[in-house]
Amino acid sequence: MRERVDASERMLDLVIALSHTRHRMTKDDIRTKVNGYRDSASHEAFERMFERDKEHLRELGIPIVTLTDAVHEDDIGYRIDTAAYTLPPIDLTPAQMGVLSVAAEVWQDSAFAASAQRGLTKLRAVAGGTSTAAPGVALRMRAPDPAMTDLLQAITERAPVRFTYRAAYSGETTVRTVEPWRVHARDRGWYLVGHDRDRDAQRSFRTSRIIGKVHRVGEPGSITIPESRPPTPERVFRTPVRLAIRPESAAALRARGSVDSSMDTPSGVRDVVTLDVSDVENLADEVAGYGAAVVVLDPPELREAVLRRLRAVAALGGAQ
């Protein structure tokens, strides 16, 4: 046999051996009989290899069952119950496989991307024919952060968690104990919603600010997730805005409002454009980006918000 056996080949032989064993295999059995483990350099090397493979197989949905001998309790054995890891019978059409192929491409390089691809591979085992896909249309999302897997598992098992969290404003880190309820994606970020035990209130945590591991701090089934979901607020268009825009400029803003008149200013003729907005601060971000091309006439709070931004940037140059 070869000098070094590839990890995927070793795991394949382990899966076959543990599915075929009559009762169970001990670590000794595995080390002496299973291809790929036979050439491990030392006891420690074998242990590391076996533990890593066990963890990989658990992630793949092929859990290794641990069995102890009734007579010799220290003598631990292992097996795999093949019947338990079988995919239920399903019927996937080529069009549905096409949709799944598109779905598996959604996540940009992350653990989620790898999981989706592996799931797709498993489904290909039972899909006949070649998949058909809609041309050209694709969704690309920033995948959830590493904490997500642990959070979802805690939610499924109804278990409280503890993690270190970096606050958005102060940048300070605190340890938070939370009863996790659900996770949602908003504004290109992922949030955990739950009950913060220390503050005794509902809180939302951006998962990218969770530092390090998420720890379980209670028994499964020890929390209750409220059924009611707060309704998502509708966008309301309210505040009337008047802007003085240079000719041929800010077409994207013009498209959302209407040109009422034009005015002479010391810096030239400008069109007066009116539109309604729901969020003045949001519009200030956009208007400031146009620099001198767009001047806010009304409301004063929007004008101040834009000027505050412009003055701050004006101070960034060398000629302060």
């Binding site: 979802l152 994207a252 980006g289």
Partner: protein
Amino acid sequence: MIEPAPDRLTRMLAMVAYLRDNPAVPVEEVSEHFRISEKQVIADVQTLWVSGTPGYMHGDLIDFSSADLDHGMLTLLDSREMDRPLRLSPGEAVALLVALQSLLGTLEANDERSLVEETIAVLRTAAGEAAAAADAVEVEGRRRESDDRPARIKEALAAGQRLRLRYVSASDQTTERDVDPLQLLTDGQRWFLVGWCHRARGVRHFRVDRILDVQVLDMPADAHPDVELTGRTEPDTARAEQVRLQLASRARWFAEQLPDAQISELENGWLQLTVGVVDIAWLSNIVMALGDEVRSVEPPDVAELLAARARAAVDDYAVMGLA
């Protein structure tokens, strides 16, 4: 890149289950089905062929027909009972289900939407208990019912037609361009069109919310087989100028949403963002929007350029008696 061992193991087991149902299947077809090279198919089969139960003698091993392989076909003779398709792990089920739910949020009510809904139903059956975790995940789509631009672009993509756009660039220039659509991307919030722009004679990314008008032309789009689509919603910033911004903690949300940015922590919650900038107008829009949440910009010539733009704007308010 070397393929991770769990991915290859998953595929080899999937292949055994697939070959049980599909005897005498050409290698080429297996390669298309699993989206791998024919060379990789053969490598996987060679591995399976020498795998089996301890002892590893003839009869212990997974076996294929060598006669069929000589004719470029695969026939499984003995699976050693490894031909059961694998169930989905919770992580795999969640990654696929959440992706499908996100896709659903970007689609209008039509056939495409019901196809995705059907697929979700089948996947839930396939996943069983593993699907439970996906119920805790909500994806908020910011879909505007009145926006028919994505639908029109999709129509052109499906029919292979050329588009005529009226487009506002980041530097606020409105231009008319004929574009051969290649891909329509969304990050769940905004839409991006990747296309071959006949005006720029190259591949360009267009933000759909900056398209003032889109017309499907009665003219087929050219084929662009040489174009490699990256699938990124932002233009490639690898060869761009590296700009460093020092941001207040309040601007952390902004730094976090840039796909290729590097963030490092400074004192008192300030952070340093290093980002590749292809288009200075893009950077200007961002820095103006962040305002006093930016305390320094490097290199200095970039900082001076932005400051000069801002000073000119403040002057315009001043001469109008508004500042």
